[in-house]
Each structure stands twice: as structure tokens, then as C-alpha cells.
Symmetry: C2
Subunit: 330 residues, 2 copies
């Protein structure tokens, strides 16, 4: 049996190398130090991994997909840098954010620069489908920005529906995963039908991933998670859990409690006891169980799409990747 | 004789049409209204014009260069939106800036989105040199960000040399004009040698253009200019004039006056009388005359490069464009 963890580690190291080289020798430091600061954080590199595994699974040479994989990681990190400004986030992954460590201007410019750097790597990809690769990558940028804009709109709105939320996370989270799977497929030069299946696979995977992220905010281990539990509640963020709770909670007293806690106009601090009470309500009405079911549903759907891929050389790798991604508890 | 003004107007109208269509039907409004607000401002569209004229001069079909021309204009406007945040600018071209009319988050996201929209138009360009076009466009983004980073560094520094300033404006201003001329050349499928000449032409043109901009800050008509005279001095900005004055001013009293005015740590407001005094010193030491000479020097250099282009079908159009660009007094 293939040791996929080992493969993942090897690919990750190769991508990390590209990411550390991309700023090498470039000036001025006021621009490239913050870029290097964020790119040198050795994260899980989920998106590059999905791109490389998709390429290899469809019979492509994984080494030909490394630059595109690094490009996607830079693009993802650009969104984090700018989102952190908008979210007023002081830390990410337990480290200071760029706008906090430096300042907002630096974070804006570093993020902009990263889009340029991402494209400079993508350009290096050798593929006869390079135009389609560019188009997919570019639509990714456009839709991620749209997703972020919807997210900011919903933050200010008292009335967000679950299906609006699912549309938003599709743009904000799934879309970039779709781009990874699709570009991997294009580099492997697979057919149009497989490209569509890869897209649907990653869409479901991404949705499961984001809902899992929403759940982990309340159920993860604080140390592994790298941030305080209940952070989404503290920020009064709309997540799958709270929107589903709005549908499931029946008693007026509990509904009112949630309504008060998630009042977008309320600026007072939410304390630990409030968070525990929210969690109790979620458990009482089966919100957490329901959320787990949804994650399973989207995961199964993703796996079904893996089975629909034709002429695939390593179906097992994509199954492994999906399970690895969704079984994390941090 | 060709009526180049008429041609310019026709091209500008075509580019404006593409720019007004690019956001059509897109959601959410919180993202696309600000994008549309900035793109719908009917500016001079200098960069698109340079791209289209370069393409046509080198024997290409101007209609094939319209999408790339619009892409460059969006890219340019993205830099304005983000620079205005960093510069705390409340108005541009006499209108409120996006971060002022909406807020900083909106301006960050609108700018990001515009990069995506720019690429989505560039992708539509039909050319066998599409990879080189992408590379040039992309290096443009990277260097413009570097130029902005140097600019912000220099703002905080008390000791900036004229050659550092020239390097900075080459990145921040000339680079995008070079990209225009070069992409125009690529779409016309001209040879490598001509591409290099087009690049040098636009580099000199861009430098002349920026120094002229520095000069106009002090000599333009306020109404035509759309902003208050002496704005650069009020912001203690390093411009060609002040850095050249540092070299030319000999009397200690005058040098000290300038040093005090341009003290980067001083946050007090600079009044009209200070600005008049600065202008007097500039005139006394021939700074304004010297600046005009520099503009002429770079303009002549640019025109010399036009003469070096081989197999050109309309040399006169580029001469006309250069003169039109640099003879503006607003």
C-alpha cells in the first residue's frame, strides 16, 4: 500500500522550497520581509497537496504541477493577509498577523504583491492547457473576492439564510479547492468530463471542510487548534451552526438567547459562560449532531465523485486525501 | 494628415465600453458598485491609448488590442484604489476615493477584485505571444508594488537621493507604460529588437510624464488639475523638485527652510505662505527651469527610440502621442 503521508510530506517540502525561493534577492525589504514571513510558515499546504494529488491521480507527472501548486498557496495566503485586515484579526496560526506585526499599509501591499508572485509561478507551468489553467486560476481570484464580499455583507445582516451561507462558503472556501483539483487535471491533460467531475469533487470536499471548520471552532482542542475555542461566537460570526440552530431551536427562550448573543449591533464582549450556554443549546437541539451529519453528507458526495472519474491511475490517493482532510480534529 | 485626436477618442470610447461591461450583472453590489464607480470615471485612459497606438504603429490590428488595453486600465485603477488608502487621500480627480466614500475594507476588496477582472480581460487577447503578454503584465504588477513600497520607505526617510527617486518612479510609473508599449508590440507580433526599443521608449516617456506630474503640482491650473496646488508639498512628498533643490540650493538659510518644511517627523500643517516660499526658493535656484529641462531630456530620449523602431507602419502616431501626453498643463 502506498504511504500517502510520506508522499504528502515530500510534495509539501518541494512546495515549501519554491515558496522560500520566490522572494529570494528581491527588494525592498519593507515589501518582501512580510511576504516571506507569511509564506515561510510551514502550514498544512492543503491546496497544493490537492492540486498535486489530483494531477498524479489523473496520470500526470506531479513534478510538473509544483509551480502551480505553490502559486495556489500564495494566492490563498494573499486572501488571508487581506481578510485578517478586514476581520481585525491580531493572530493567525498562533502568530501575529502582518497588519499587526507591521501595519495595515504593509499588509495591503504585501497581499497585492503576492497576487503578482502567484501568477509569476503559474506562468512557469508547462502545459498545453495553459490558457484554461489561467482562466480557472483567475476565476478563482474573482470568486474568492466575491465570497469575501458576501461574508462581510452577511456579518452586518441579522437575517442570513442557510442556503445563502452555503453559496458564500462555496465561493470563499470551495472555489479555490475546485481550482486546485481542476488545474491538477489540466496539467495531467485529462478530458473535459473528468475536469467537471474533479470540480464537483472539490466543491463538495470544500463545503465539508468549511462546515468542519465551523464545528471545530466549538469542539477542537485549543492547543492543536492554535486559537481560542468559540472564537466565531465571540465575533458573532455566521457559521453553519448558528444558521442551522435558527432552524432547529423551537423554544422561544432559547431562540431569544441566541438572537441576543448574535445581535450584530451589540458590541459588548461575549464571555465564556455565554459560549457554554450557546454550546448547551446546540447540543439540546441536536445542532452539533446535525452538523456532523452534513459534513458526512458532503464528504460522501465528494467520494462519489471520485468514483466517477474515468481512466484514473490512483483513485485511492484522492480518497486518502479527502479522509485526511476531514478527519482532522484541529 | 491623420486626425490622431479623433482616433484617440474612438479608442477611448471602445475601452470605456469594455470597462463598463466588465462588472455587468455581477454580484454582490457591495463589491461591484465601488469597482464600477472607479472604472466609470471617464479619464484620459493614457495607458490603454499607448497600448493601442503601439499595436497599430507596429502594424497590428488595434481592435485586437482593446481587451488588453482595458485590462491595463483596470490594473492601473487598482493601484490607485490601494495607494489612496495608504496615502489617506480623500479625493482623486475631484471625486471621493473609495475608502472615503465606502470604507477601507471595501476599498481593499474592490482593488483585489480588479486584479482578477484585469486578468479576465487580458486572457481574452488573441495572440500567439500570449505567454509573453502574461509575463509582461505580471511583472508590471510586481514592479508597481515594489515601486509603491520604495515610495512609502522614502516618505519616512530624511535622506533620499535623486537616483533612488528615479529608480522608484521607473517602477511605480514608467513600468506600467512599458508594459503597454510592449504588449501592443506583442499583439502586433513585432520582433524582439522592436520590443526592447518600445520598452525603452515607454520608460523614458514614463519618467518624463512623472517628473511633469511633479512639476504640475506647483505650476498647474487648480481647476483643470482637479486638486489643490502644492499638494505634494503639503504632504511633504519627495518629488523631483525637492530632491533636485537639495542639490542646487546653496544658501544655508534656504536649505534650512526646505529642511524644516520637508521634515518627515513634523506633523503640523503647511500653509499657503510656506508653499509660496518653497516656490520662490525653487525659482531662485533654477529648480523649475532644471525640471523642465529634465522633462525635455527624457522626452527627446523617448522620441529617439521611436526613430529606432524598424518596419513601423505609423511612426508619427507615437510622436503625436508622446507630445500630447507631455504637453498637457493639467
Amino acid at each position: 500500500m502506498t504511504d500517502y503521508f510520506k508522499k504528502y510530506d515530500i510534495y509539501r517540502a518541494k512546495v515549501d522550497k519554491i515558496l522560500s525561493d520566490v522572494t529570494f534577492g528581491r527588494k525592498p525589504d519593507s515589501l518582501y520581509k512580510p511576504v516571506d514571513y507569511i509564506l515561510s510558515w510551514k502550514g498544512k499546504r492543503i491546496r497544493p497537496a490537492l492540486l498535486i494529488f489530483s494531477c498524479e491521480a489523473m496520470g500526470g507527472n506531479p513534478d510538473l504541477s509544483l509551480n502551480a501548486a505553490a502559486a495556489i498557496e500564495i494566492l490563498h495566503n494573499f486572501t488571508l493577509v487581506h481578510d485578517d485586515i478586514m476581520d481585525n484579526a491580531d493572530t493567525r496560526r498562533g502568530r501575529e498577523t502582518i497588519h499587526k506585526k507591521w501595519n495595515t499599509d504593509t499588509a495591503i501591499l504585501a497581499g497585492d504583491e503576492m497576487i503578482g508572485l502567484a501568477y509569476s509561478l503559474l506562468i512557469k507551468t508547462e502545459s498545453k492547457n495553459i490558457s484554461k489553467i489561467f482562466e480557472s486560476f483567475n476565476n478563482g481570484i474573482i470568486e474568492v473576492c466575491e465570497g469575501q464580499a458576501f461574508d462581510k455583507e452577511y456579518e452586518k445582516s441579522a437575517d442570513v439564510k442557510l442556503d445563502e451561507y452555503l453559496m458564500m462558503i462555496r465561493k470563499k472556501t470551495s472555489r479555490l479547492l475546485e481550482v486546485c483539483a481542476v488545474i491538477g487535471g489540466y496539467i495531467a491533460d485529462t478530458d473535459t468530463q473528468n475536469i467537471d467531475v474533479l470540480k464537483s469533487y472539490a466543491e463538495n470536499l470544500g463545503t465539508a471542510f468549511q462546515i468542519n471548520d465551523d464545528l471545530l471552532d466549538l469542539t477542537a482542542d485549543e492547543i492543536d487548534f492554535g486559537k481560542k475555542i468559540g472564537g466565531d461566537i465571540r465575533e458573532r460570526k455566521k457559521t453553519y451552526l448558528v444558521l442551522r440552530a435558527n432552524e432547529l431551536v423551537s423554544e422561544k427562550q432559547d431562540l431569544n438567547f441566541l438572537k441576543n448573543i448574535f445581535d450584530v449591533k451589540d458590541k459588548t464582549e461575549i464571555n465564556d459562560s455565554d459560549i457554554n450556554k450557546v454550546k448547551e443549546i446546540y447540543i439540546k437541539y441536536g445542532v452539533i449532531e446535525d452538523t456532523k451529519k452534513q459534513i458526512s453528507k458532503f464528504t460522501e458526495e465528494a467520494k462519489n465523485y471520485i468514483n466517477k472519474l474515468t481512466g484514473i491511475s490512483d483513485r485511492e490517493s484522492l480518497v486518502w486525501f479527502s479522509e485526511m482532510l476531514l478527519n482532522r480534529n484541529y
